[in-house]
């Protein structure tokens, strides 16, 4: 249903913006109409509605892209509200400051922050609502509230029970409690317990609606031709026979490309072939991969930004024999399986956007700019995401869909990219160059320096967040460096490369972990020490990190030396407030190897939804294999040379080894789990390759060194 954009919606946004993160009545968009029909709904805050008919709806403030927020965030609310999460309806959040991700400073789903950000406020939201329902019941029974308890959607006192439905009206008139006590971990009945994913059954039956599946009355389709050179624009074009084709409604020049609008997608897609476009290729037209790495190389002597320092690394290195290494990582495409798409409706009332996006707030701003309206005139209807991996933090496809839809006001237009569009117009994962130096003394690391040189995604997307050359997302994998080394110097250098780059699942953790954990392995071998023992000796002050490293090594049966054609490699790090260690086991010979197994131990604090923590690690490993083995984006003449899953291969079922995972029980606050499985795959495998073959590979992907993985 398209609901007309009315002034009351605008008011909501303004009111809630003023109210900040507090509790707001009638906050959600469209709520005023629903509230009018059902005046007695209990809506204590922006996440919870208890309807008088017994229905409970909870708002998921983050976007579901497989990482389980749709279930795990609802578990936080349900735990304290004392309702069965399987009995509630989940709503996607509208764009509103109350849903701001405090760890990201915007309404954004990324950075493995969803649970960490929501852990306190969502439980408090649930507890506040429960408290008011209990107070309403106590008042009705004329008993002290302290004698009542809430359980499974009802309030209980002795043999008396009242369902929440019967209390909705009275609870809505209760004063907001000031301080509410949250449950102790020992009292949890939802958090940490088994629960089927709330979105799981529909996904196994083709019933889940992703952005690409959304329908609106009168909807038409668009296909878009974009300049093959990144950043290029339309110079001129000839529509040829396109406009005469069956179903074609309009050919639209949106500057960054030419779109065909047609009744059906295939008609729009086919008609593009008739259009001859002259491109203004722009400044990237002469760029290629070698030039990009040469650009990074030229910045290697820049001082950069100091991220972490201890002692005097320069002096310590000068005293001893230095060990040096140079590591590089490749550019990568995101290839989320749901191709980028967006349904947009531009009308006199404003703009409606239905899209799979990780960044609804950015989508709203981009749509507003493209339509020439104010952000509060744009409604973002966030949909289930068929894979994000960071690509859907960018909103280019949303801007394009709105620009196209603007040409046919009143008609909803769904823009669908092809897979080729997706790969050739990706914002690739940044390439990186890492320079490392270390000195050993008595079998221990006396000094360690690391300089990472890479373009900055943040400088493009959130320029005001980059201060004094420091991109917060480039220091990932360094800022939480776990090893106790007396002389340390860790720096980053932002060096742009002439094409825009994007956040890719686990962002700089993957880049820095490959360099650092491979180099630590080099140091262990230089010191003639077991790589596990060598690391443990630097983790005296890191009991949680020690525990996961010891556990992974034990579970894997780690051995420092290759034996009977089998070898192990280990890697360990802290990221997203999670501690993780991984062991790769390889078999085979110098040129042809087989990945036998990956063994993981993880301590992510309290695991809110343990089965899905495991799922994120299993999936994270597969993303880690994309990084490690053979996939890469290369540039020639400003064009991304890969275009589909033939030229940008991702792992298929037979290529994924058994993955064994140990989850360490913990009572610490939850850490992030959406990305933690990714970064250690490459260094663990590279370290195992060294143990197996004696060859140290310092560039990703590993197969570029002439090795093939079965």
């Amino acid at each position: 249903m398209i609901t007309p954009f009315d002034s009351s919606r605008r008011t909501f946004l303004k009111v809630s913006a003023l109210a900040g993160g507090g509790l707001i009545l009638g906050l959600r968009l469209g709520r005023s109409e629903e509230a009018a029909a059902q005046p007695a709904a209990f809506e204590p805050n922006a996440w919870i509605t208890v309807y008088p008919d017994g229905a409970v709806s909870l708002v998921c403030p983050r976007n579901e892209m497989g990482q389980d927020v749709y279930t795990s965030l609802i578990m936080l609310l349900a735990e304290e509200l004392a309702v069965d999460p399987r009995q509630i309806k989940v709503e996607e959040a509208a764009v509103n400051p109350v849903y701001l991700n405090r760890l990201m400073g915007a309404q954004i789903t990324g950075g493995s922050t969803s649970i960490r950000d929501a852990w306190d406020p969502l439980r408090q939201a649930g507890a506040t609502a429960r408290n008011m329902l209990v107070n309403a019941a106590a008042a009705q029974w004329s008993v002290p509230a302290a004698e009542c308890r809430a359980e499974n959607g009802q309030v209980i006192h002795g043999s008396n029970t009242l369902p929440y439905a019967a209390l909705a009206d009275a609870a809505a008139r209760q004063p907001l409690p000031k301080d509410v006590a949250l449950k102790q971990a020992s009292e949890f009945s939802v958090i940490g317990k088994p629960l089927p994913r709330l979105d799981g059954a529909g996904k196994a039956r083709g019933q889940a609606v992703f952005g690409i599946d959304v329908k609106q009355p009168g909807m038409v389709y668009a296909a878009l031709a974009q300049c093959p050179v990144l950043g290029g624009k339309v110079a001129s074009f000839d529509t040829g026979a396109a406009q005469k084709r069956a179903g074609v409604r309009k050919v639209v020049d949106i500057g960054e490309g030419v779109a065909v609008i047609a009744d059906h997608y295939w008609e729009a897609h086919s008609a593009l072939a008739d259009i001859k476009i002259q491109w203004d290729e722009g400044p990237a037209a002469h760029l290629d991969t070698n030039a990009i790495y040469a650009t990074l190389e030229r910045s290697k002597d820049k001082p950069g930004t100091i991220i972490k320092q201890a002692g005097d690394a320069t002096a310590a290195l000068a005293k001893s024999k230095q060990i040096k290494a140079r590591y590089t990582s490749q550019m990568l495409a995101h290839v989320a399986l749901e191709p980028l798409n967006c349904l947009a409706l531009v009308s006199a009332n404003g703009v409606d956007v239905w899209a799979s996006t990780q960044y609804p707030q950015g989508a709203q701003a981009a749509a507003a700019q493209a339509a020439g309206v104010e952000p509060e005139q744009v409604l973002i209807h966030a949909q289930l995401i068929g894979g994000g991996f960071g690509r859907r933090l960018d909103v280019d496809f949303i801007r394009q869909a709105v620009a196209i839809a603007k040409a046919v006001p009143g008609t909803p237009v769904k823009l669908i990219w092809t897979r080729e569009d997706d790969v050739t117009h990706d914002f690739p994962r940044p390439p990186s160059l890492h320079l490392l130096h270390a000195a050993l003394e008595g079998g221990r690391v006396a000094a360690f320096t690391h300089k990472m040189i890479s373009p900055s995604v943040t400088a493009r997307m959130f320029p005001s967040a980059v201060k004094d050359g420091n991109d917060y997302f480039m220091i990932e994998g360094v800022i939480d460096f776990t090893y106790d080394i007396p002389n340390l110097d860790m720096r980053t250098v932002i060096q742009e490369i002439g094409i825009p780059v994007g956040y890719w699942r686990s962002v700089s953790n993957a880049l820095n972990a490959f360099a650092i954990e491979s180099f630590v392995d080099e140091l262990a071998h230089a010191a003639h020490r077991d790589p596990v023992e060598f690391r443990l000796a630097m983790l005296d002050k890191q009991p949680r990190q020690r525990a996961v490293l010891e556990r992974a090594a034990k579970d894997a049966g780690f051995k420092a030396r290759a034996h009977k054609g089998r070898a192990f490699g280990v890697a360990s790090m802290q990221c997203y407030d999670t501690h993780i260690a991984m062991v790769a086991e390889l078999s085979g010979k110098a040129k042809k190897v087989r990945l036998e197994k990956l063994t993981i131990a993880v301590d992510c604090g309290i695991a809110v939804h343990p089965d899905q923590v495991i799922a994120q690690l299993q999936g994270g490993v597969v993303t880690g294999l994309i990084n490690a083995l053979r996939s890469k984006v290369t540039i020639k003449g400003g064009r991304i040379q890969q275009s589909n899953f033939d030229t940008f291969p991702i792992p298929r079922m037979p290529q994924v080894p058994p993955i064994e995972i140990a989850l360490i029980p913990s009572t610490e606050k939850p850490g992030g789990m959406g990305e933690a499985g990714v970064p250690l795959v490459a260094p663990a495998i590279a370290n195992a390759l060294f143990a197996l073959t004696g060859k140290r590979i310092r560039a990703l992907p590993l197969e570029d060194a002439g090795i093939s993985f079965e």
Partner: protein, 154 residues
């Protein structure tokens, strides 16, 4: 107008004969359970059954589908299908879920032809279906689980 046998019914579709069945399903018929992933038969998100065989629909023109029985995820039914979907629930396979229609279609076709597939059989039958989230380990487990349940109830 073209005639199509779809999920046990004969229907007529007003689409040009070169239109891939994938887009006939999604746009012309509004059946969005079958997914577009690559358009080149490289990811098999668009898997349907053509006369009972798992096949891609993104490169299958409407004209070539005429005279064949097409089954989509919306029409998937029967003992094997139910066992597969119950196994998907039990093992908690889906993450983002976008590929899962195709995975379920491929798994149901496999188990219909091979009641007790080995790991190698599963690799062979499922290697065409990409899962970007990496649910492969659970897909394998779920196929074995479904096979066991089917055997037990036979």
């Amino acid at each position: 107008m073209s005639e199509l046998r779809l999920n046990g019914k004969t229907i007529t579709v007003d689409a040009s004969p070169d239109t891939p069945v994938l887009w006939v399903l999604r746009d012309h018929l509004g059946m969005t359970g079958t997914k577009f992933g690559c358009g080149k038969a490289l990811c098999r998100a668009c898997t349907v059954h053509l006369d009972g065989e798992a096949t891609f629909s993104c490169l299958l023109p409407l004209s070539a589908a005429t005279g064949h029985e097409i089954t989509t995820i919306e029409g998937l039914s029967g003992r094997v299908a139910e066992a597969v979907q119950a196994a998907w629930d039990n093992i908690q396979v889906p993450q983002c879920g976008y590929c899962q229609s195709g995975q379920v279609m491929a798994a149901a076709a496999l188990l219909t032809q091979n009641a007790k597939p080995s790991d190698a059989d599963i690799d062979q039958a499922m290697q065409g279906n990409l899962c970007r989230c990496g649910t492969y380990q659970r897909i394998r487990l779920a196929i074995h689980y479904a096979a066991k349940q089917l055997e037990a109830s036979a």
